[in-house]
C-alpha cells in the first residue's frame, strides 16, 4: 500500500501550492482508499489483471516540473509532436503552456478546474479513480469553441529527469461545444525504458450535434504501467468516434465509459493493439444506451506475440423502454505465438425489446495461404507476417477521418512491427 501511504509526505510537499487543489476531496479520497483498498483479482473486472506491481515498486507522486527543463525533456517533447496538429503539452501531468502551440480562438484552456462529471463505470475500479484524485495537482478544462481545422494533440509526456519511479495523475475534461467538430489525439508517451505509473482521468462532454473523433494512443516506455479512464458523455444527434491504440507499455488498463444521453447518436468504439514480450493490455468498455435511436459499433483488434496477454470486456447496457437501438460488438485476436493468452468477454444488459444487438469474438493464427500469397510476390516470410499484422490492425487506423492521422498512425504501426519483429519471427503451426 506504499502508493496510498505516500500521500502524507506528498501532502506536506504539495501544500506549498495550496491554491491548486481541493484538499478536502483529496482527504476524502484517501479515507475511501484506506477503507476499500485497491482492487484484487477476486473482483470480476480485475480477474485477469494484477496490481502486484504497485507493491513491488515505490512510485512517488509527481510534483511540479523545474522551470528550466533538461534538453532530454525538450527533445522527447519535440520528437513526439505530430506535424500538422495543434499541441497541448503536459509533463508528468502538469500543463506546459510554453511548449504548447494552439489557436486561442478555437481552444480555451483553463487550469485547476473543479468541474464534476459523473459516469456509470466499473464500481470495482472506484479506488483507481480515488488514486487519481489523490495525486492530480493540475486538473485542466479544455473547451473546443469552434471547428478545429487541424487535429488537437494532447501530449501527455512522462519523464523522470533522473529521479525515482513516479506515479503520474493527469486529469482533464474536454467540452466540444454544440455543433462543433474536433479531432483530438491523446498521446500517452514517456521516456525510453523508464519505469513509471500513469493513472489518467480524461472526460469529454460532446454537446448536441457536436462531432468528436478521439485517438487514445498509448505508446509508453516498455517498462511503464498505464491506466486510464476515458469517459465520454454524448448528447443528442452527436457523433463520437473513439480509437484506442496500444503499442507499448508493460501493463495497460483502459476503462472507457460512453454515455449515450440523447437520441440519434452515432458512435464507433475501435481498438487496435500490438502486444509482445510479456505485455498485458486490458480494455474494459461500457457503452450505456440511455435513449433510443442510437447506434454503437465496437471493434477491438489485438495482434499478440511472444507471451503477451490481452483482455477485452465489453459491456453494452440498453435501458428499458427505449426503441431502435443498434449495437454491435466484435473482438478479433490474431495470435503469432502459442504462448499468448486472450480473455474476451461480451456483457450485454438489454432491458428493451426494439433492439439490434450483436456480439462476436474470434481468435486465430495467421493463414498460411495469406503468407504464401505475399511470398509469391517476392516478399520474405518475415516481412509478409509484418505486413499482414499491420494490415490486420491498420483496418482500424484507416477508419480515421483525418488523412494526416491515418498516415501518421499507419506509419507508427508499421515501424513498431518492423522494429520489434526483426529478430524473432515465427507463426503458430
Amino acid at each position: 500500500m506504499n502508493i496510498i501511504n505516500s500521500f502524507d509526505s506528498f501532502l506536506t510537499e504539495a501544500q506549498k501550492f495550496p491554491h491548486v487543489a481541493d484538499w478536502t476531496s483529496k482527504q476524502r479520497a484517501k479515507e475511501q482508499l484506506v477503507q476499500s483498498g485497491l482492487p484484487t483479482r477476486k473482483q470480476e473486472s480485475w480477474r485477469n489483471t494484477s496490481l502486484k506491481f504497485l507493491s513491488e515498486t515505490d512510485f512517488k507522486p509527481a510534483s511540479h516540473s523545474p522551470m528550466q527543463l533538461p534538453d532530454s525533456v525538450l527533445s522527447l517533447a519535440s520528437s513526439k509532436m505530430i506535424d500538422g496538429c495543434h499541441t497541448l503539452v503536459f509533463l508528468n501531468g502538469f500543463y506546459m503552456p510554453g511548449l504548447s502551440r494552439f489557436d486561442v480562438n478555437t481552444v480555451l484552456v483553463i487550469e485547476n478546474t473543479k468541474k464534476p462529471i459523473s459516469f456509470q463505470g466499473d464500481a470495482d475500479s472506484a479506488s483507481i479513480h480515488h488514486l487519481n484524485e489523490l495525486y492530480n495537482l493540475n486538473p485542466i478544462d479544455i473547451t473546443i469553441k469552434a471547428d478545429l481545422d487541424q487535429p488537437l494533440q494532447i501530449l501527455n509526456l512522462t519523464h523522470l529527469m533522473g529521479g525515482e519511479p513516479l506515479v503520474i495523475s493527469p486529469k482533464m475534461n474536454v467540452t466540444v461545444k454544440s455543433n462543433k467538430e474536433a479531432k483530438i489525439v491523446l498521446s500517452q508517451v514517456g521516456e525510453h525504458q523508464a519505469r513509471y505509473f500513469t493513472n489518467g482521468q480524461f472526460t469529454f462532454a460532446v454537446e448536441k450535434d457536436a462531432r468528436l473523433e478521439l485517438v487514445n494512443d498509448v505508446n509508453q516506455s516498455t517498462n511503464a504501467y498505464h491506466f486510464d479512464f476515458v469517459g465520454i458523455a454524448a448528447e443528442a444527434s452527436s457523433t463520437v468516434r473513439y480509437f484506442e491504440l496500444n503499442l507499448n507499455a508493460q501493463l495497460t488498463r483502459h476503462e472507457l465509459v460512453l454515455e449515450l444521453n440523447g437520441e440519434h447518436i452515432q458512435s464507433e468504439i475501435l481498438g487496435a493493439s500490438y502486444l509482445k514480450y510479456n505485455q498485458h493490455c486490458d480494455s474494459q468498455t461500457y457503452i450505456n444506451h440511455h435513449k433510443g435511436s442510437c447506434q454503437s459499433e465496437q471493434v477491438y483488434k489485438a495482434l499478440l506475440d511472444d507471451e503477451a496477454r490481452s483482455v477485452f470486456s465489453g459491456t453494452v447496457f440498453i435501458a428499458e423502454g427505449i426503441a431502435k437501438t443498434d449495437s454491435a460488438q466484435l473482438n478479433q485476436n490474431l495470435l503469432l505465438s502459442d504462448k499468448v493468452e486472450v480473455n474476451s468477454k461480451p456483457i450485454l444488459r438489454i432491458y428493451s425489446d426494439d433492439v439490434k444487438a450483436s456480439h462476436g469474438s474470434t481468435m486465430g493464427k495467421m493463414q498460411e495461404d495469406e503468407i504464401f500469397y505475399l511470398q509469391s510476390r517476392s516478399i520474405s516470410r518475415s516481412k509478409a507476417i509484418e505486413l499482414l499484422g499491420q494490415g490486420f490492425l491498420n483496418e482500424i487506423v484507416l477508419r480515421m477521418g483525418s488523412d494526416l492521422l491515418k498516415k501518421h498512425f499507419s506509419k507508427e504501426l508499421l515501424n513498431e512491427l518492423g522494429t520489434q519483429r526483426k529478430t524473432k519471427l515465427k507463426v503458430v503451426k
Partner: protein
C-alpha cells in the same frame, strides 16, 4: 527456362503429381488443360513453392544466372525474386495493406535482391503510372486494401497489374479466366499480351478454349491424373472443346 523432370508431389499425404514432365522456353506460351482434380492448380502451386505441397521425386529445373537449378527446396519468395510469378485463381484479400504499399514492397524486394537501390515513393509512383496503362482499374485502387472488397474481375485484373509491375520471366496464370465476363476476359488477355515478350514465358492453366482465343498458345498440354498425357499445338484445344475430356481420354 523451365524443365520439369518426372515431378512427383503430394499434399496431406496424397500424391497429386505422379511423374510430370514439362519444358518451357523463353518466348513461349503454354496452356495446360485438364479435367477437375487432374492436378493443374497443384502444379502451379508446386512450381511457386506453396508450403502445403511436398516434392517427393523428380526435379524442377529453372534457369538462374543462365544455369538450370533445381528450385524444389527454395522458399516461395526466393523463387519470385528469380522471376517466377503465379497469378492466383483465388487472389487473397489483405485488408489494411494498401495496393500501393504492397506493390512497392514487392517491387523493392526484387530490386534489393538484384543489388539495386530500392525506389522511393515518388520514383515508384512514376514507374507504376506507366504500368497502370496496361490494365484499367478504378482510380482509388492504389489506396484501397489489397483485393479487399474487389469483385472477381477486379481481383484478376490486379493479378495482371502485379505481373506487369514485377516483370517476371516465367508467369503461371492459374485459371485467370474463371469468373470473368467477356469484357473483363478481353481486358485481362490484352494485358497479358502486352506483357508477353521473347524474353519471358507464360503458362496458362485453364479449363476452357475461350481464353485461348485471346492469348494464343504455342503448345497445349493435357494433364490427367498427375501426368501430362498429351502435348500438341493450338488445334488440340479445339479437339478437347469438341469431344470433351471424357471423349478425349477414352
Amino acid at each position: 527456362m523451365l524443365e520439369i523432370k518426372n515431378l512427383k508431389a503430394e499434399v496431406d499425404g496424397k500424391e497429386i503429381l505422379k511423374g510430370l514432365n514439362l519444358r518451357v522456353n523463353a518466348g513461349e506460351v503454354h496452356a495446360i488443360m485438364g479435367p477437375n482434380g487432374s492436378g493443374k492448380s497443384s502444379l502451379s502451386k508446386v512450381i511457386a513453392g506453396h508450403p502445403s505441397y511436398s516434392v517427393t521425386g523428380g526435379e524442377i529445373l529453372y534457369d538462374i544466372n543462365f544455369q538450370p537449378k533445381n528450385i524444389a527446396d527454395m522458399d516461395p519468395d526466393e523463387r519470385a525474386k528469380e522471376g517466377i510469378f503465379l497469378a492466383f485463381q483465388y487472389p487473397v484479400e489483405v485488408p489494411g495493406v494498401t495496393n500501393f504499399n504492397f506493390l512497392m514492397t514487392s517491387f523493392n524486394s526484387i530490386l534489393e535482391h538484384q543489388g539495386s537501390e530500392p525506389l522511393t515513393e515518388d520514383e515508384f509512383r512514376k514507374y507504376l503510372d506507366k504500368k497502370m496503362d496496361i490494365i484499367s482499374l478504378r482510380p482509388d485502387f492504389l489506396e484501397r486494401g489489397v483485393n479487399s472488397g474487389f469483385s472477381g474481375g477486379e481481383k484478376k485484373k490486379n493479378e495482371i497489374l502485379q505481373m506487369a509491375v514485377l516483370a517476371p520471366r516465367l508467369s503461371i496464370l492459374d485459371e485467370t479466366d474463371s469468373g470473368l465476363d467477356i469484357d473483363a476476359l478481353k481486358v485481362v488477355s490484352e494485358g497479358v499480351n502486352k506483357i508477353k515478350s521473347k524474353n519471358n514465358a507464360i503458362v496458362l492453366i485453364t479449363h476452357y478454349q475461350r481464353l485461348l482465343d485471346y492469348i494464343k498458345p504455342d503448345f497445349i498440354h493435357v494433364l490427367y491424373q498427375g501426368r501430362i498425357v498429351k502435348t500438341g499445338g493450338p488445334e488440340l484445344a479445339l479437339e478437347l472443346e469438341k469431344n470433351g475430356y471424357d471423349g478425349f481420354l477414352q
